[in-house]
Protein backbone atom coordinates (compact mmCIF):
# COMPACT_ATOMS: atom_id res chain seq x y z
CA UNK A 1 0.00 0.00 0.00
CA UNK A 2 1.87 3.01 -1.25
CA UNK A 3 -0.27 5.55 0.61
CA UNK A 4 0.70 3.91 3.87
CA UNK A 5 4.39 4.44 3.22
CA UNK A 6 3.85 8.12 2.50
CA UNK A 7 1.74 8.39 5.62
CA UNK A 8 4.46 6.85 7.71
CA UNK A 9 7.37 8.86 6.39
CA UNK A 10 5.48 12.08 6.99
CA UNK A 11 5.19 11.37 10.67
CA UNK A 12 8.41 13.03 11.89
CA UNK A 13 7.41 16.15 10.00
CA UNK A 14 3.95 16.02 11.46
CA UNK A 15 5.30 15.98 14.98
CA UNK A 16 7.59 18.87 14.14
CA UNK A 17 4.49 20.77 13.14
CA UNK A 18 3.49 20.76 16.79
CA UNK A 19 4.76 24.22 17.61
CA UNK A 20 6.39 25.12 20.87
CA UNK A 21 3.57 27.47 21.85
CA UNK A 22 1.14 24.53 21.61
CA UNK A 23 2.45 23.37 24.96
CA UNK A 24 0.26 25.33 27.31
CA UNK A 25 -0.36 24.93 31.05
CA UNK A 26 -2.31 21.72 31.64
CA UNK A 27 -4.86 23.04 34.09
CA UNK A 28 -6.03 26.45 32.96
CA UNK A 29 -8.88 28.70 34.04
CA UNK A 30 -11.44 26.22 32.71
CA UNK A 31 -10.34 23.61 35.23
CA UNK A 32 -10.44 26.16 38.06
CA UNK A 33 -13.98 27.15 37.10
CA UNK A 34 -15.00 23.47 36.88
CA UNK A 35 -13.61 22.71 40.34
CA UNK A 36 -15.35 25.72 41.87
CA UNK A 37 -18.65 24.68 40.23
CA UNK A 38 -18.19 21.11 41.47
CA UNK A 39 -17.58 22.29 45.06
CA UNK A 40 -20.59 24.61 44.86
CA UNK A 41 -22.78 21.81 43.52
CA UNK A 42 -21.64 19.50 46.34
CA UNK A 43 -22.41 22.13 48.97
CA UNK A 44 -25.82 22.72 47.44
CA UNK A 45 -26.58 18.99 47.27
CA UNK A 46 -25.46 18.28 50.82
CA UNK A 47 -26.75 21.32 52.72
CA UNK A 48 -29.38 23.06 50.64
CA UNK A 49 -31.34 20.25 48.99
CA UNK A 50 -34.19 18.55 50.86
CA UNK A 51 -33.82 14.89 51.78
CA UNK A 52 -36.05 12.69 49.66
CA UNK A 53 -38.94 11.22 51.65
CA UNK A 54 -38.74 7.57 50.55
CA UNK A 55 -35.06 6.98 49.86
CA UNK A 56 -33.55 9.22 52.47
CA UNK A 57 -30.04 10.59 52.17
CA UNK A 58 -29.00 7.88 49.71
CA UNK A 59 -31.01 9.60 47.00
CA UNK A 60 -28.44 12.39 46.95
CA UNK A 61 -25.97 10.01 45.27
CA UNK A 62 -28.16 10.45 42.22
CA UNK A 63 -26.94 14.02 41.77
CA UNK A 64 -23.38 12.80 41.20
CA UNK A 65 -24.17 9.41 39.68
CA UNK A 66 -26.24 10.46 36.67
CA UNK A 67 -24.13 13.48 35.63
CA UNK A 68 -20.99 11.30 35.92
CA UNK A 69 -22.63 8.71 33.66
CA UNK A 70 -23.53 11.38 31.12
CA UNK A 71 -19.95 12.71 31.19
CA UNK A 72 -18.67 9.18 30.69
CA UNK A 73 -20.95 8.74 27.68
CA UNK A 74 -19.76 12.08 26.31
CA UNK A 75 -16.11 11.01 26.66
CA UNK A 76 -16.67 7.61 25.07
CA UNK A 77 -18.59 9.13 22.18
CA UNK A 78 -15.58 11.36 21.59
CA UNK A 79 -13.36 8.25 21.52
CA UNK A 80 -15.61 6.56 18.95
CA UNK A 81 -15.94 9.62 16.71
CA UNK A 82 -12.23 10.47 16.91
CA UNK A 83 -11.35 6.87 16.04
CA UNK A 84 -13.28 7.19 12.80
CA UNK A 85 -11.80 10.64 12.15
CA UNK A 86 -8.28 9.31 12.70
CA UNK A 87 -8.60 6.41 10.26
CA UNK A 88 -10.15 8.79 7.76
CA UNK A 89 -7.87 11.83 7.97
CA UNK A 90 -4.83 10.37 9.77
CA UNK A 91 -4.67 13.48 11.90
CA UNK A 92 -2.62 13.01 15.05
CA UNK A 93 -4.82 15.45 16.91
CA UNK A 94 -7.78 13.10 16.54
CA UNK A 95 -5.74 10.28 18.06
CA UNK A 96 -4.57 12.44 20.92
CA UNK A 97 -8.13 13.57 21.62
CA UNK A 98 -9.36 9.96 21.59
CA UNK A 99 -6.59 9.01 24.02
CA UNK A 100 -7.47 11.89 26.35
CA UNK A 101 -11.20 11.24 26.24
CA UNK A 102 -10.62 7.51 26.86
CA UNK A 103 -8.69 8.17 30.05
CA UNK A 104 -11.17 10.73 31.35
CA UNK A 105 -14.04 8.43 30.39
CA UNK A 106 -12.57 5.64 32.51
CA UNK A 107 -12.44 7.97 35.53
CA UNK A 108 -16.09 8.91 35.15
CA UNK A 109 -17.12 5.29 34.54
CA UNK A 110 -15.33 4.34 37.74
CA UNK A 111 -17.26 7.07 39.54
CA UNK A 112 -20.52 5.70 38.12
CA UNK A 113 -19.68 2.13 39.07
CA UNK A 114 -18.75 3.07 42.64
CA UNK A 115 -21.61 5.47 43.37
CA UNK A 116 -24.15 3.04 41.84
CA UNK A 117 -23.66 0.19 44.35
CA UNK A 118 -23.50 2.70 47.22
CA UNK A 119 -27.02 3.73 46.26
CA UNK A 120 -28.14 0.22 45.34
CA UNK A 121 -27.33 -1.37 48.68
CA UNK A 122 -29.78 0.70 50.78
CA UNK A 123 -32.42 1.13 48.05
CA UNK A 124 -32.39 -2.17 46.13
CA UNK A 125 -30.97 -4.20 48.97
CA UNK A 126 -28.06 -5.39 46.85
CA UNK A 127 -24.74 -3.96 45.72
CA UNK A 128 -25.04 -5.33 42.23
CA UNK A 129 -27.63 -6.78 39.91
CA UNK A 130 -27.22 -7.92 36.32
CA UNK A 131 -29.60 -5.33 35.02
CA UNK A 132 -29.14 -4.13 31.44
CA UNK A 133 -27.79 -0.70 32.28
CA UNK A 134 -25.44 -1.93 35.00
CA UNK A 135 -24.02 -4.69 32.84
CA UNK A 136 -23.54 -2.36 29.92
CA UNK A 137 -21.68 0.15 32.10
CA UNK A 138 -19.48 -2.59 33.51
CA UNK A 139 -18.54 -3.72 30.02
CA UNK A 140 -17.93 -0.15 28.92
CA UNK A 141 -15.45 -0.03 31.77
CA UNK A 142 -13.76 -3.25 30.59
CA UNK A 143 -13.62 -2.01 27.01
CA UNK A 144 -12.21 1.36 28.00
CA UNK A 145 -9.64 -0.27 30.26
CA UNK A 146 -8.67 -2.64 27.43
CA UNK A 147 -8.40 0.33 25.08
CA UNK A 148 -5.99 2.11 27.41
CA UNK A 149 -3.94 -1.04 28.04
CA UNK A 150 -3.66 -1.56 24.29
CA UNK A 151 -2.41 2.01 23.90
CA UNK A 152 0.15 1.45 26.62
CA UNK A 153 1.43 -1.74 24.99
CA UNK A 154 2.48 -0.21 21.67
CA UNK A 155 5.53 2.01 21.25
CA UNK A 156 5.19 2.99 17.62
CA UNK A 157 3.06 6.07 17.41
CA UNK A 158 1.25 5.53 14.13
CA UNK A 159 0.66 1.86 14.91
CA UNK A 160 -0.74 2.78 18.32
CA UNK A 161 -3.07 5.31 16.72
CA UNK A 162 -4.30 2.85 14.08
CA UNK A 163 -4.78 -0.07 16.49
CA UNK A 164 -6.61 1.96 19.07
CA UNK A 165 -8.82 3.55 16.39
CA UNK A 166 -9.77 0.08 15.12
CA UNK A 167 -10.58 -1.02 18.67
CA UNK A 168 -12.53 2.19 19.30
CA UNK A 169 -14.74 1.60 16.25
CA UNK A 170 -15.29 -2.11 16.95
CA UNK A 171 -16.20 -1.34 20.56
CA UNK A 172 -18.79 1.16 19.36
CA UNK A 173 -20.25 -1.60 17.15
CA UNK A 174 -20.24 -4.02 20.08
CA UNK A 175 -22.27 -1.89 22.48
CA UNK A 176 -25.68 -2.51 20.83
CA UNK A 177 -24.96 -6.25 20.88
CA UNK A 178 -24.14 -6.31 24.58
CA UNK A 179 -27.20 -4.20 25.24
CA UNK A 180 -29.34 -6.62 23.24
CA UNK A 181 -27.86 -9.62 25.07
CA UNK A 182 -28.72 -8.26 28.47
CA UNK A 183 -32.09 -7.05 27.29
CA UNK A 184 -33.02 -10.52 25.99
CA UNK A 185 -31.67 -12.02 29.17
CA UNK A 186 -33.80 -9.75 31.26
CA UNK A 187 -37.00 -10.56 29.41
CA UNK A 188 -36.31 -14.28 29.74
CA UNK A 189 -35.56 -14.05 33.43
CA UNK A 190 -37.41 -11.11 34.95
CA UNK A 191 -35.43 -9.35 37.62
CA UNK A 192 -36.87 -9.44 41.13
CA UNK A 193 -35.72 -5.91 41.70
CA UNK A 194 -37.55 -2.94 40.34
CA UNK A 195 -35.58 -0.54 38.23
CA UNK A 196 -34.91 2.88 39.59
CA UNK A 197 -38.27 4.67 39.57
CA UNK A 198 -38.56 7.32 36.92
CA UNK A 199 -39.81 10.52 38.39
CA UNK A 200 -42.24 12.21 36.09
CA UNK A 201 -41.61 15.40 37.96
CA UNK A 202 -38.93 16.34 40.40
CA UNK A 203 -39.32 19.14 42.95
CA UNK A 204 -37.74 22.28 41.61
CA UNK A 205 -34.95 22.59 44.16
CA UNK A 206 -33.90 18.99 43.55
CA UNK A 207 -34.02 19.53 39.82
CA UNK A 208 -31.85 22.62 40.20
CA UNK A 209 -29.30 20.65 42.25
CA UNK A 210 -29.25 17.98 39.57
CA UNK A 211 -28.80 20.51 36.80
CA UNK A 212 -26.00 22.30 38.60
CA UNK A 213 -24.22 18.97 39.13
CA UNK A 214 -24.79 18.15 35.49
CA UNK A 215 -23.26 21.46 34.42
CA UNK A 216 -20.32 21.18 36.83
CA UNK A 217 -19.63 17.57 35.86
CA UNK A 218 -19.69 18.28 32.13
CA UNK A 219 -17.39 21.25 32.67
CA UNK A 220 -15.02 19.10 34.72
CA UNK A 221 -15.08 16.41 32.05
CA UNK A 222 -14.25 18.85 29.28
CA UNK A 223 -11.52 20.58 31.29
CA UNK A 224 -9.94 17.22 32.19
CA UNK A 225 -9.96 16.11 28.56
CA UNK A 226 -8.40 19.43 27.62
CA UNK A 227 -5.73 19.09 30.30
CA UNK A 228 -4.98 15.52 29.21
CA UNK A 229 -4.82 16.64 25.59
CA UNK A 230 -2.33 19.34 26.46
CA UNK A 231 -0.26 16.82 28.36
CA UNK A 232 -0.28 14.68 25.19
CA UNK A 233 0.92 17.63 23.12
CA UNK A 234 3.74 18.36 25.57
CA UNK A 235 4.73 14.69 25.67
CA UNK A 236 4.82 14.40 21.88
CA UNK A 237 6.85 17.60 21.66
CA UNK A 238 9.34 16.21 24.11
CA UNK A 239 9.58 12.93 22.20
CA UNK A 240 10.07 14.80 18.93
CA UNK A 241 12.81 16.94 20.49
CA UNK A 242 14.47 13.83 21.91
CA UNK A 243 14.46 11.98 18.60
CA UNK A 244 15.81 15.10 16.86
CA UNK A 245 18.58 15.19 19.43
CA UNK A 246 19.40 11.57 18.70
CA UNK A 247 19.50 12.36 14.99
CA UNK A 248 22.26 14.91 15.53
Amino acid sequence: MSTATVENSSHPRESARVRADDARPLFGWLFAVAVICMVAAYIRAIYFTPIEALQGAAQKIYYLHVPAALSAYLSLSIVAVMSIVYLWLRDERADRLAESAGEVGLIFLTAVLTTGPLWGKPIWGTWWTWDARLTLTLFLWFLTAGYLVLRGAIDDRSMRARYSAVLGILAALLIPFIHLSVYLFRTLHPMPIVLKPDRPSMPNDMLFTFLSFFGACTLLCISLIRARYRYGVARDLLRAAESEGEGI
Partner: protein, 227 residues
Protein backbone atom coordinates in the same frame (compact mmCIF):
# COMPACT_ATOMS: atom_id res chain seq x y z
CA UNK B 1 -4.51 -8.98 -12.14
CA UNK B 2 -5.02 -10.22 -8.61
CA UNK B 3 -6.48 -13.65 -8.03
CA UNK B 4 -10.02 -13.73 -6.60
CA UNK B 5 -10.33 -12.96 -2.91
CA UNK B 6 -11.75 -16.24 -1.71
CA UNK B 7 -9.33 -18.37 -3.74
CA UNK B 8 -6.42 -16.51 -2.14
CA UNK B 9 -7.99 -16.81 1.28
CA UNK B 10 -8.27 -20.55 0.76
CA UNK B 11 -4.56 -20.72 -0.16
CA UNK B 12 -3.63 -18.94 3.09
CA UNK B 13 -5.93 -21.15 5.11
CA UNK B 14 -4.50 -24.26 3.48
CA UNK B 15 -0.99 -23.10 4.32
CA UNK B 16 -1.89 -22.61 8.00
CA UNK B 17 -3.75 -25.90 8.17
CA UNK B 18 -0.86 -27.73 6.49
CA UNK B 19 1.53 -26.33 9.12
CA UNK B 20 -0.87 -27.42 11.82
CA UNK B 21 -1.46 -30.84 10.28
CA UNK B 22 2.25 -31.55 10.00
CA UNK B 23 3.13 -30.49 13.51
CA UNK B 24 -0.18 -31.27 15.24
CA UNK B 25 1.15 -29.87 18.51
CA UNK B 26 -1.24 -26.96 18.92
CA UNK B 27 -4.41 -28.89 18.12
CA UNK B 28 -3.53 -31.65 20.53
CA UNK B 29 -2.57 -29.18 23.27
CA UNK B 30 -5.77 -27.16 22.93
CA UNK B 31 -7.87 -30.31 22.80
CA UNK B 32 -6.32 -31.62 26.00
CA UNK B 33 -6.87 -28.20 27.57
CA UNK B 34 -10.55 -28.26 26.60
CA UNK B 35 -11.23 -31.77 27.91
CA UNK B 36 -9.17 -31.02 31.01
CA UNK B 37 -11.29 -27.94 31.58
CA UNK B 38 -14.46 -30.00 31.29
CA UNK B 39 -13.08 -32.44 33.85
CA UNK B 40 -11.95 -29.67 36.23
CA UNK B 41 -15.46 -28.21 36.19
CA UNK B 42 -16.71 -31.45 37.68
CA UNK B 43 -14.84 -30.71 40.91
CA UNK B 44 -16.49 -27.32 41.27
CA UNK B 45 -19.90 -28.88 40.85
CA UNK B 46 -22.34 -29.85 43.57
CA UNK B 47 -24.20 -32.67 41.84
CA UNK B 48 -27.04 -32.58 44.35
CA UNK B 49 -27.65 -28.84 43.97
CA UNK B 50 -27.31 -28.22 40.23
CA UNK B 51 -28.42 -30.64 37.54
CA UNK B 52 -26.04 -31.48 34.70
CA UNK B 53 -28.49 -29.98 32.23
CA UNK B 54 -28.25 -26.61 33.94
CA UNK B 55 -24.50 -26.70 34.23
CA UNK B 56 -23.56 -28.07 30.79
CA UNK B 57 -24.24 -24.97 28.63
CA UNK B 58 -22.07 -22.85 30.91
CA UNK B 59 -19.27 -25.41 30.96
CA UNK B 60 -19.34 -25.83 27.20
CA UNK B 61 -19.23 -22.15 26.39
CA UNK B 62 -16.68 -21.14 28.98
CA UNK B 63 -14.41 -23.92 27.73
CA UNK B 64 -14.95 -22.97 24.08
CA UNK B 65 -14.19 -19.35 24.80
CA UNK B 66 -10.92 -20.09 26.52
CA UNK B 67 -9.76 -22.85 24.20
CA UNK B 68 -10.72 -20.56 21.31
CA UNK B 69 -8.45 -17.88 22.75
CA UNK B 70 -5.61 -20.38 23.02
CA UNK B 71 -5.96 -21.42 19.40
CA UNK B 72 -6.24 -17.85 18.16
CA UNK B 73 -3.06 -16.92 19.98
CA UNK B 74 -0.91 -18.94 17.60
CA UNK B 75 -2.66 -17.69 14.46
CA UNK B 76 -0.28 -14.81 13.95
CA UNK B 77 2.34 -16.22 16.27
CA UNK B 78 3.34 -18.69 13.55
CA UNK B 79 4.05 -15.78 11.19
CA UNK B 80 6.59 -14.23 13.54
CA UNK B 81 9.29 -16.86 13.10
CA UNK B 82 11.70 -15.67 10.37
CA UNK B 83 9.39 -12.67 9.90
CA UNK B 84 7.12 -14.81 7.74
CA UNK B 85 4.47 -12.09 8.00
CA UNK B 86 6.59 -9.85 5.75
CA UNK B 87 6.49 -12.57 3.13
CA UNK B 88 2.71 -12.52 3.23
CA UNK B 89 2.59 -8.75 3.10
CA UNK B 90 4.82 -8.40 0.03
CA UNK B 91 2.86 -11.07 -1.83
CA UNK B 92 0.60 -9.62 -4.52
CA UNK B 93 -2.58 -10.50 -2.63
CA UNK B 94 -5.30 -8.50 -0.95
CA UNK B 95 -4.93 -7.82 2.75
CA UNK B 96 -8.55 -8.89 3.19
CA UNK B 97 -7.64 -12.27 1.72
CA UNK B 98 -4.93 -12.72 4.38
CA UNK B 99 -7.49 -12.00 7.06
CA UNK B 100 -10.16 -14.29 5.62
CA UNK B 101 -7.61 -17.07 5.12
CA UNK B 102 -6.33 -16.79 8.67
CA UNK B 103 -9.89 -16.67 9.98
CA UNK B 104 -10.87 -19.71 7.91
CA UNK B 105 -7.94 -21.72 9.27
CA UNK B 106 -8.87 -20.66 12.80
CA UNK B 107 -12.48 -21.62 12.15
CA UNK B 108 -11.48 -25.13 11.06
CA UNK B 109 -9.26 -25.38 14.13
CA UNK B 110 -11.92 -24.21 16.59
CA UNK B 111 -14.66 -26.29 14.93
CA UNK B 112 -12.39 -29.33 15.19
CA UNK B 113 -11.99 -28.73 18.92
CA UNK B 114 -15.75 -28.31 19.30
CA UNK B 115 -16.50 -31.47 17.32
CA UNK B 116 -14.59 -33.48 19.91
CA UNK B 117 -15.47 -31.48 23.03
CA UNK B 118 -19.26 -31.51 22.60
CA UNK B 119 -19.51 -35.33 22.59
CA UNK B 120 -16.98 -35.41 25.43
CA UNK B 121 -19.17 -33.13 27.55
CA UNK B 122 -22.27 -35.16 26.64
CA UNK B 123 -20.45 -38.31 27.68
CA UNK B 124 -18.92 -37.04 30.92
CA UNK B 125 -22.05 -35.20 32.07
CA UNK B 126 -24.53 -37.80 30.87
CA UNK B 127 -26.42 -35.44 28.62
CA UNK B 128 -29.24 -36.89 26.53
CA UNK B 129 -28.19 -35.22 23.27
CA UNK B 130 -29.52 -37.59 20.61
CA UNK B 131 -31.48 -35.73 17.97
CA UNK B 132 -30.40 -32.29 19.17
CA UNK B 133 -26.74 -33.01 18.38
CA UNK B 134 -26.82 -31.67 14.78
CA UNK B 135 -28.54 -28.46 15.94
CA UNK B 136 -25.99 -28.11 18.72
CA UNK B 137 -23.18 -28.39 16.17
CA UNK B 138 -24.93 -25.72 14.10
CA UNK B 139 -25.05 -23.37 17.09
CA UNK B 140 -21.40 -24.11 17.83
CA UNK B 141 -20.44 -23.28 14.27
CA UNK B 142 -22.37 -19.99 14.32
CA UNK B 143 -20.68 -19.04 17.56
CA UNK B 144 -17.27 -20.09 16.25
CA UNK B 145 -17.61 -17.74 13.26
CA UNK B 146 -18.12 -14.77 15.60
CA UNK B 147 -15.33 -15.78 17.97
CA UNK B 148 -12.91 -16.33 15.13
CA UNK B 149 -13.74 -13.10 13.27
CA UNK B 150 -13.02 -10.90 16.28
CA UNK B 151 -10.28 -13.12 17.65
CA UNK B 152 -8.29 -13.28 14.41
CA UNK B 153 -8.21 -9.49 14.17
CA UNK B 154 -7.18 -9.05 17.80
CA UNK B 155 -4.62 -11.83 17.47
CA UNK B 156 -3.02 -9.89 14.60
CA UNK B 157 -3.00 -6.76 16.73
CA UNK B 158 -1.86 -8.38 19.96
CA UNK B 159 1.05 -10.14 18.25
CA UNK B 160 2.60 -6.71 17.57
CA UNK B 161 2.33 -5.39 21.11
CA UNK B 162 4.48 -5.81 24.16
CA UNK B 163 1.77 -7.66 26.08
CA UNK B 164 0.88 -10.17 23.33
CA UNK B 165 -0.45 -13.14 25.33
CA UNK B 166 -2.08 -10.94 27.94
CA UNK B 167 -3.75 -8.52 25.58
CA UNK B 168 -5.67 -10.99 23.40
CA UNK B 169 -8.04 -12.18 26.15
CA UNK B 170 -8.38 -8.68 27.55
CA UNK B 171 -9.48 -7.28 24.20
CA UNK B 172 -11.49 -10.29 23.04
CA UNK B 173 -13.52 -11.32 26.06
CA UNK B 174 -15.86 -8.30 26.13
CA UNK B 175 -16.54 -8.98 22.45
CA UNK B 176 -17.37 -12.60 23.23
CA UNK B 177 -20.26 -11.59 25.51
CA UNK B 178 -23.00 -11.63 22.84
CA UNK B 179 -21.58 -14.85 21.35
CA UNK B 180 -21.41 -16.68 24.66
CA UNK B 181 -24.81 -15.35 25.64
CA UNK B 182 -26.48 -16.35 22.38
CA UNK B 183 -24.86 -19.75 22.16
CA UNK B 184 -25.37 -20.66 25.82
CA UNK B 185 -29.03 -19.60 25.76
CA UNK B 186 -29.70 -21.57 22.59
CA UNK B 187 -27.88 -24.59 24.04
CA UNK B 188 -29.83 -24.37 27.29
CA UNK B 189 -33.12 -24.20 25.39
CA UNK B 190 -32.24 -27.29 23.41
CA UNK B 191 -30.95 -29.30 26.36
CA UNK B 192 -34.04 -28.48 28.41
CA UNK B 193 -36.10 -30.08 25.67
CA UNK B 194 -38.00 -26.91 24.87
CA UNK B 195 -39.07 -26.33 21.26
CA UNK B 196 -36.13 -25.20 19.09
CA UNK B 197 -38.19 -22.15 18.03
CA UNK B 198 -37.56 -20.70 21.49
CA UNK B 199 -33.86 -20.57 20.69
CA UNK B 200 -34.51 -18.35 17.68
CA UNK B 201 -33.95 -14.93 19.35
CA UNK B 202 -30.56 -16.11 20.63
CA UNK B 203 -29.68 -17.49 17.20
CA UNK B 204 -30.68 -14.25 15.50
CA UNK B 205 -28.31 -12.43 17.85
CA UNK B 206 -25.51 -14.85 16.89
CA UNK B 207 -26.15 -14.48 13.17
CA UNK B 208 -26.30 -10.68 13.39
CA UNK B 209 -23.05 -10.66 15.37
CA UNK B 210 -21.36 -12.90 12.79
CA UNK B 211 -22.43 -10.74 9.87
CA UNK B 212 -21.53 -7.42 11.49
CA UNK B 213 -18.17 -8.45 12.93
CA UNK B 214 -16.99 -10.61 10.05
CA UNK B 215 -17.56 -7.62 7.77
CA UNK B 216 -16.14 -5.02 10.18
CA UNK B 217 -13.05 -7.05 11.04
CA UNK B 218 -12.33 -7.85 7.39
CA UNK B 219 -12.36 -4.15 6.57
CA UNK B 220 -10.45 -3.22 9.72
CA UNK B 221 -7.66 -5.75 9.21
CA UNK B 222 -5.70 -3.83 6.52
CA UNK B 223 -5.39 -0.92 8.97
CA UNK B 224 -3.59 -3.13 11.45
CA UNK B 225 -0.81 -4.34 9.13
CA UNK B 226 0.33 -1.19 7.38
CA UNK B 227 4.10 -1.09 7.34
Amino acid sequence: VRPPLLATAWLIARKDLAIEFRTRTAFFAVLVFAVLGVAIFYFAWDVTAVSALDLAPGVLWVIFTFSGLLSLQRSFGVEQADRAMDGLLVSPIDREAIFLGKALANLVFVAGIQAITIPAVALLYNLPLGATLPILFGIALLAAVGLVAVGTLFSAMAANTRLAELLLPMLSLPFFVPVVYGAAQATATLLAGRPPAEAWPALKLLIAFDVVFLTACTFAFPFTIEE
